[in-house]
């Protein structure tokens, strides 16, 4: 249990230190050392607990509960102050309602609702802890270099890096707390802390756009938080104060389908599912490490984490299917919107929303096969997506643009960074890399579920769309432009270390995922579902063969071969200079540019977003109606 408490408290202590660090030197050392400590501690956690099953920890948590309550009041006061300062009445209303619910709970029900085991750990928690600890720390290290450059590029923003790193580490602490909490009240507390952290980080630059988007994120997550608070009150009043995950998840659907639907709703807001997807896209105004953190190891992962935890409740209920359809449709629509985006960070954002949609769909189906796919998706997505964000961030500082069109021929201009980006993109959609394996698992899971064939159809279309937008981005990167110079220069060593580590992880996890599955995921499934899912031995061998081929084939360039004769590309007889200029019929010099297809008429953001908001809104309504109806009938 010490290790659990260490992981929750140590980042918090680092965070407090960060608040007072003003020089780069001190900050660099402390962040690097803390990152290392957190990473090592999560690995120790893995080694110490992977074969122990589920362990619950009981201790007198009265004091901790009181501290949490006080902190929640402070958080509420801070949000209220921000709401008043920026005259955001929605936020004011939501935080007042939420605090009222909380105080009500504390005053009347909290003593009776003491959870016997506030903390716990199982294999799923370990997986989440590894993601948070390793990827989160790498992102913090990356941020050292990035934020320095960021403030050199943007002299007009106040340098509040001490606040920035404070919140980054507090975020990690809250995430550890969230995945180790058995008490729903504790989960709720950490949930609210992540909401607050994301609000502060999104609004970091304090520009008008950043503030607007931060408030957009805030009200959506507060809405989810309010639903969460209602769920806790419901459990406290209707379920004899049963607030431990261990009790809730085995207590039968009749009692907890309504709170599960409410918590599912909270999960949907946090995981940025439609109609709440806009906050995550808006969060792109924040510095890149923030995006990387929100998208890969924290925040949105908290949303899907809680959904996966509650998956046994959703399984085989109409509520669960409605939830699955929210996820499935979000996957399809967000992928389609990604086609129309040329801003790299927006493509990444929509792809995150889409992949989380797939996790949500799996959680809604809630069978052991679906949960196997969901956990694989969480792991692989976290690694590949953080890699892509960090690479895009570093490239952005060099080419002063995050537009994919401006990344034309990046392999010539910045070969190493482009190679890392190609690995990340391959990790997102190509066999035999992680995300593809997970999608494959999802197909198998959906097929065996009742009504699953509709989700399979959605997945088939969505996955074809995914191929399109990733492949065209990859194509842009690997164009060989003869006139370009190598501009890579020296990448900051912190940034480089994080990027290379993540690229290595992307590849290595593909090799070792059968081990991850066997050691962590399968025991978790067996304990919770009495059944396990896995890939067959044959398929694993074939995947490994493919991986080897992919790694070996680039070496073919080194093979001895006859020298090639080099010719310019075919241009229908026009003489074109290497930088793509030619003399037109009027004798003027004309430039030519090759651009990707964005198919705006079909996949335009405005149009599809409206469709997504309404259809997913309807399914969320169905989710609540069916949960209520179930409650009435049973």
């Amino acid at each position: 249990m010490q290790l659990l408490l260490f992981l929750i408290l140590f980042p918090l202590i680092t965070a407090l230190f960060m608040l007072f660090m003003r020089t780069d030197r001190e900050r660099n050392w402390i962040v690097k050392l803390s990152g290392l400590c957190i990473g090592v501690a999560t690995v120790l956690l893995l080694l110490g607990y992977f074969d122990k099953g589920t362990l619950y920890y009981s201790f007198d948590a009265g004091m901790a509960g009181l501290v949490m309550f006080l902190l929640e009041i402070i958080i509420a006061a801070f949000i209220l102050w921000q709401g008043i300062k920026y005259r955001n009445y929605l936020v004011i209303a939501l935080i007042l309602v939420q605090t009222a619910l909380l105080v009500w709970f504390e005053a009347f029900y909290a003593p009776a609702a003491e959870v016997e085991f506030p903390l716990f750990i199982d294999q799923f928690s370990i997986i989440m802890a590894l993601i948070i600890g390793i990827i989160g720390s790498l992102i913090c290290v990356y941020a050292l270099g990035y934020m320095k450059e960021f403030h050199e590029h943007h002299k007009d923003y106040a340098d509040r890096r001490n606040i920035f790193f404070f919140v980054m580490f507090a975020f990690l602490s809250a995430m550890f707390g969230l995945v180790f909490s058995n008490s729903l009240v504790w989960v709720y507390f950490f949930w609210e802390v992540t909401t607050l952290c994301s609000f502060v980080l999104i609004g970091y630059t304090k520009t008008g756009e950043a503030t607007t988007n931060a408030f957009n994120a805030l009200w959506m997550n507060l809405l989810g938080g309010t639903a969460f608070a209602v769920a806790i009150l419901y459990l406290a009043t209707q379920a004899n104060g049963m607030l431990g995950l261990d009790q809730i998840l085995v207590s039968g659907k009749a009692l907890i389908l309504i709170p599960a639907a409410l918590i599912g709703f909270a999960g949907l807001t946090k995981a940025a599912q439609m109609p709440f997807s806009t906050w995550l896209v808006g969060a792109m105004v924040a510095p890149t490490p923030v995006s990387a953190l929100l998208h890969s190891s924290t925040m949105v992962k908290a949303g899907v984490y809680i959904l996966v935890r509650f998956a046994p409740v959703y399984a085989f209920t109409a509520t669960g299917y409605a939830l699955a359809f929210v996820g499935g449709l979000t996957f399809l629509i967000a992928s389609a919107i990604a086609i129309s985006q040329s801003n790299a960070k927006r493509v990444l954002a929509y792809s995150t929303i889409a992949n989380l949609g797939l996790v949500v769909a799996c959680a809604g189906i809630g069978t052991y096969e679906a949960i196997w796919a969901a956990i694989l998706l969480i792991i692989f997505h976290a690694i590949a997506k953080s890699l892509l964000f960090l690479a895009v961030g570093t490239v952005e500082h060099r080419i002063q643009s995050r537009d994919i069109e401006d990344m034309n021929g990046l392999i010539v201009r910045m070969p190493r960074l482009a190679a890392m980006m190609v690995i990340g993109i391959a990790g997102m959609f190509l066999a035999p890399f992680g995300m593809l394996i997970s999608k494959w698992a999802a197909i198998q899971a959906f097929i065996d579920a009742p009504f699953g064939f509709v989700l399979v159809i959605i997945l088939a279309f969505g996955s074809a769309i995914t191929v399109f937008f990733w492949a065209k981005w990859m194509g842009k990167l690997i164009v060989i432009t003869p006139s370009a110079q190598n501009l890579e220069g020296s990448v900051d060593k912190h940034e480089w270390a994080a990027i290379v580590s993540l690229a290595a992880l992307t590849t290595v996890t593909c090799f070792i995922f059968p081990i991850i599955s066997k050691v962590l995921i399968e025991p978790f499934l067996f304990e919770n579902y009495g059944n396990i899912a896995r890939l067959s031995q044959d398929n694993i061998i074939i995947m490994v063969m493919m991986l080897f081929l992919i790694i070996v084939l680039p070496l073919s360039i080194l093979l001895p071969h006859r020298a090639n004769r080099h010719l310019p590309p075919y241009t229908g007889g026009i003489i074109m200079t290497p930088d793509m200029h030619f003399t037109n019929a009027l004798g003027q010099k004309t430039g030519m540019k090759l651009g990707n297809y964005y198919l705006n008429a079909w996949f335009g953001e405005a149009r599809l977003l409206t469709v997504g908001i309404y259809t997913c809104g309807v399914f969320i309504a169905v989710m609540f109606v069916t949960a209520l109806a179930w409650g009435v009938i049973v």
């Binding site: 399109f468 493919m546 360039i557 010719l567 590309p569 090759l594």
Partner: protein, 285 residues
């Protein structure tokens, strides 16, 4: 249940069969157009000549992409004929396809660039139908393994008429036949010259041709799978499908990519949804 013998047979024999099919294709096409046409061995002469030609490239990375395309296309077919997992076969096919597209992108050439974009649109158009074909076969036979699907005692096509028709529709795209030869074409009458393959010449183009033979055999194998319970019927079906594709190729003008994609998706949606729904709810296999 991986059978290495079948995989090896595919690797060795598919180029021969695929090349002959290409030759027969040209002969029949010529007759349909009132010409005599070349010998059915002509494709072999052509490819042989390509390999003797000068190695002219736009840049050196093209060789890597084409080699990868070639190897993964063979991998796809070998895995299929070895009786491997059908979904994995489809993913390997996509991987091969992406390498071809990357090769076209890498050349930084206007025609091959447009070809690459169109090729990706084609992938986006046909992939749902191909995945859903595998899903349909799973619902009938309860297995994704080609060996087990092939060993299913009843004709799979009886349960999957809609999916079979949908698959035939996408087959035209995969075989690069009119009206869907929008990213590249066998005939030199393309508005984007040779599209994806514009910048490949000599041995590289030879590899693309041979890869296409491999792909043709693999795709006809996929058609055969619908009829695998009765191999005589299967072979007849494959021949009819092949002739049908030639007929469609010669009687249709190329369409725009918009129509190609929209029609493929609509047909996929209707054929697959209806067929899968009926399978899921009404047919107990």
């Amino acid at each position: 249940m991986i059978s290495l013998v079948y995989a090896a047979a595919f690797i060795l024999l598919a180029p021969v069969v695929g090349g002959l099919l290409a030759g027969i294709d040209r002969k029949i096409t010529a007759h349909m157009q009132g010409r005599v046409g070349p010998s059915i061995l002509q494709p072999f002469y052509d490819v042989g000549k390509l390999f003797e030609k000068d190695k002219a490239v736009v840049n050196d990375t093209q060789r890597f992409y084409i080699l990868s395309y070639f190897i993964f296309a063979i991998f796809t077919g070998a895995l299929f004929f070895a009786g491997g997992d059908l979904l994995l076969v489809i993913f390997a096919l996509t991987l091969a396809e992406v390498f071809l597209v990357l090769g076209a992108y890498a050349a930084n050439s206007p025609y091959s660039h447009v070809g690459a974009e169109r090729e990706l649109i084609q992938v986006m158009a046909y992939e749902p139908m191909v995945i859903l074909s595998a899903v349909g076969m799973y619902l009938v036979t309860r297995s994704f393994n080609v060996s087990e699907i092939a060993g299913f005692p009843q004709l799979v096509v009886i349960f999957l008429p809609g999916i079979f028709l949908g698959f035939l529709y996408t087959l035209t795209i995969k075989l690069r036949k009119s009206p869907f030869d929008i990213s590249t074409s066998h005939h030199a009458h393309q508005e984007i010259v040779k599209g994806v393959t514009t910048e490949f010449s000599g041995p590289n183009l030879g590899f693309i041709e041979v890869t296409h033979w491999y792909e043709t055999v693999f795709l006809l194998g996929f058609v055969f799978l619908f009829f695998a319970a009765n191999w005589i019927l299967g072979i007849i079906a494959v021949i009819i499908v092949f002739l049908l594709e030639l007929y469609i190729d010669n009687t249709n003008a190329r369409v725009k990519w918009q129509l190609a994609m929209k029609s493929t998706w609509v047909i996929t949606l209707i054929a697959a949804t209806v067929n899968l729904a009926v399978l899921a709810y009404f047919v107990v296999v």
